[in-house]
Structures are given as structure tokens and as C-alpha cells.
Amino acid sequence: MFNAPHPPVRAVSKLNTIKERTASVHNRRREALAGYLLILPALVLFIGFLGYPLAYSFYLSLTKYNFVYSNTPTWIGLDNYIKMFSDPQFRVALLHTGQFTLMFLPALMLLGLGIASLIQSHAIGGNILQGVIFLPVVVPLSIAGVMFIWLYSGNFGLVNFLLNKVGLGYIGRAWLNSPETALPAIAIVNLWKYTGLSVVLFLAGLLAIPSELYEAARIDGANAFQLLIYITIPNLKETFALVTVWGLIESWKVFALPFVMTRGGPGDSTQVLYLYIYEMAFKYYDVGKAAAMAFFLALIILLLSLLTIRLMQTESQ
């Protein structure tokens, strides 16, 4: 029965393909219909809460609109985009965002690589300590901000208390109330929060380096410093790129910490771009200008994100 002669089988199978073909067109249509139906709820939410606001925001960026004084936006074209670069406050905010990046990013990489190599060098309890360093990542930013307001406080703060204990009490101060230290203090909180993630990324990078490379170099008589310079760092190229772009995006988006901790003060010493956009919209009610600056920020972050995607693609190849 199973060894049926060939010709009849062939005939049957031919018939089947025609049937199957019509069936498969039918199926494909049903599959497409199911696909659209299943995506529909997500699409509705997406358009309602993201797509429409995005378009509306772009429209607002081309208008002058103060929603307290007037009900209707006035069309002014690209004026907001052109004028924002001559706004001194905007420039200050850009400058501070840049300064913040310079304080945050290099330290993020050094700490990430340093701690990751310590963990990889078989330090005792490495796994547990890695967990401890990762702990701040799960603390919400705003709560971290409130915590550190207290730690940095002049009279009741842990920082000044410890400085006193070590005999450095004379540099103690209310860290968030002096213009020179407020921004670095906030950068340190950001560092406290994100170093754990950086460690994980670097650890993954380090583990991907084949140990044969180190063995071969050691046989050739390389010392620890040479191992670092000629093997570890070149092989971590992708990790460095990834952490750089990620850290850049985080720096551009810094908002919750200055918002909770200093509100841009003292003076305007912690005024960053994101915070300035927020204030422009909800303190000065100049919605059009705020939207234009928001799109400027979005453009920068979009470019950085595309860069990340490109780097990840080259990494996986």
C-alpha cells in the first residue's frame, strides 16, 4: 500500500498543488487580516498617545502659542527654530548639558571598565559585589534625587559628616547650593545610578575576548599594562562605542535629577536643555518655542540612536 506505483501518485499530487495554491492564497489573505486585526489595538493606542501628539507637537513648534493668554496658536513658520539659537538661556542650557556630558561620560567608562576587570580577575565575592553595584540601577531616579539632596545637605548630610571624620571638614559645604559644585554633584548621582549598567556591558565585552590572546601575549613576555593597551582595549572597541552612545543619550536626556534636586539653580548653574524645555512650556507657557527645542533635542537623540543601531549591527556581523 505504501509502495504505490509512481504515475498515479504524481497525478494526485498535481491535483493537490492546484488545490493547495488556491487554499494558500486564501490562507495568506486570512493571515494578513489576522495580522492587521491583532495589531489594531496597539496601533490605536500608538496613534492616539504617540503619533497624534507627535504631529501636534510639530505643528505647535511652527507657531507662537501661549495657552494661558490665547486660545489659538499663531502660525510663524520656522521662526522658533531660528530664534532659539540666539536665546542666551538656550545657549547656557546647551553649555551645561555639554559640561554634564564631560563629567559623566568619561567617568562612566572608566568606572565601568575598572570594576568589570576587577570582577573578571576572580575577586572574592565578585558576583555579590556586582549585584550591590547594580542595585542603584533599580532605584527610581527621582527617589535617588531626593536621597542625595539629603546626603549633600550642609548640616545633616552624610558627605560632610564623612569629610569631617577624615579631617577634610573645611571643604564641606551645602553641595547643591553652591554654583561650582551643584552640577558635578548631580553628575555623581547620575554616575551612581548608571555605573552598574556600564559594568554589565563591559563585563560582557571582556568575557567575549578569547583567552588565547592573553596566553599568547604572556608567552611573548607582555606585562599587565601591555595586555591592557594591546589586547583588552582594542577588543573592547564595540563596547566602548556602545557605552559612549548610550551615555551621550543619557546625558542629553538628563532631567529628573536637576528637576528634583535644584530646579536649575543656584542661579542657572544646573540649567540643562531638557529642564529648560520643560520650563519654557510649563513656567513661561511659550509652548511653540518649547516644542521647537524639544524637536531639536529629539533630532540629536534620534541621530545618536541611529548611530547605536549601526554600531550594534557591525558588532553582530
Binding site: 495568506r28 493571515e31 494578513a32 489576522a34 495580522g35 492587521y36 491583532l38 495589531i39 489595538p41 496597539a42 496601533l43 500608538f46 498617545f49 504617540l50 503619533g51 497624534y52 501628539p53 507627535l54 501636534y56 507637537s57 505647535l60 570594576i115 576587577l118 570582577i119 580577575s121 576572580h122 575577586a123 572574592i124 565575592g125 565578585g126 559585589l129 550591590v132 553595584i133 542595585l135 542603584p136 532605584v139 536621597m147 542625595f148 539629603w150 546626603l151 545633616f156 552624610l158 559628616f161 551612581w192 555605573t195 552598574g196 536626556k253 531638557y274 520643560y278 512650556a281 510649563f282 518649547a290 516644542a291 524639544a294 524637536f295 533635542l297 529629539a298 537623540i301 534620534l302 540612536s305
Partner: protein, 144 residues
């Protein structure tokens, strides 16, 4: 005996980096630890003249204060709870359906939709904040 020797040697060799890592981890942990310890102090001690690390008198008075002083605390908890339950439920249902659609089914607009979803997710929140605020203002959903 020899095996034990090797073990001790290996522990000794790893001691410097272990101590360094432990110090760094302690540094990262200290803010959380301090907040935890402070939660066991009474208010006088927190704002008193002499700062301490360990509470002089361990007390749960601050935790009692949560329920006594902040009489709306249950409401706050309930609000967080409600928001979480409702949004997680909706997200789970919508995301499961959309995920299956993107992952398993074939139709012409699929890839275009997927890329535009990703694209919009990359836009920083502040861009949406303003129009959403205005929408809520117009719907009279604010402050009620």
C-alpha cells in the same frame, strides 16, 4: 595539605582586587545603607546636632508615622496599585497581540509599521509632554 596550601595561595593572590572591589561596592551601597539606617532613627536624632551613623536608639517610629501622619498613605498605595494593575493588564494584552502579529504573521505593512513603532519610541518624552498636557487641559481632565 598541599591542596589547602594552593587554595590559601590563590585566595591571597586575589586579595588586593577583592578588597578594592569590596570598597567600591561599599561606596555604592553606602547611600542606600544610610537611608535604611536613618529610617530607624527618631526625628530628633536625624536633625540633632550630633550626627551618627548607627541609630542610638533603634525605633520603628518612622514606620508608624507612615500610617499615622500621612493619613492618605493608603490612598497613595491604592493609586499606585491601580495604575500598575490597569496599565500592566492593558499593555500585556495589547503587546501579546501585537507581538504575535509582528512575529508570526505575514502582511505587506508589517515591517513598515514595526519600524515606525521603533522610531517613535526613540523620541524623548518631552516632545509628547506638551501636546498631551494640552489635550488633557482641553478634555478638562487636569486637577479633578
Amino acid at each position: 595539605m598541599r591542596l589547602a596550601d594552593i587554595r590559601i595561595k590563590s585566595v591571597l593572590r586575589r586579595l588586593p582586587q577583592s578588597i578594592l572591589l569590596a570598597v567600591i561596592a561599599l561606596l555604592f551601597f553606602s547611600p542606600l545603607l544610610w537611608v535604611l539606617l536613618t529610617s530607624f532613627k527618631n526625628t530628633d536624632e536625624i536633625y540633632g546636632g550630633q550626627m551618627t551613623i548607627l541609630p542610638e536608639q533603634w525605633t520603628l517610629i518612622q514606620y508608624q508615622g507612615i500610617t499615622k501622619q500621612a493619613k492618605f498613605f493608603p490612598t497613595y498605595m491604592m493609586n499606585s496599585f491601580l495604575i500598575t494593575i490597569v496599565s500592566v493588564t492593558i499593555i500585556a494584552i495589547v503587546a501579546i497581540l501585537a507581538g504575535y502579529s509582528f512575529g508570526r504573521l505575514r502582511y505587506s505593512a508589517r515591517d513598515g509599521l514595526f519600524v515606525s513603532f521603533l522610531f517613535i519610541l526613540g523620541v524623548p518624552n518631552v516632545v509628547f509632554l506638551i501636546p498631551v498636557y494640552l489635550m488633557l487641559l482641553q478634555l478638562k481632565l487636569l486637577n479633578n
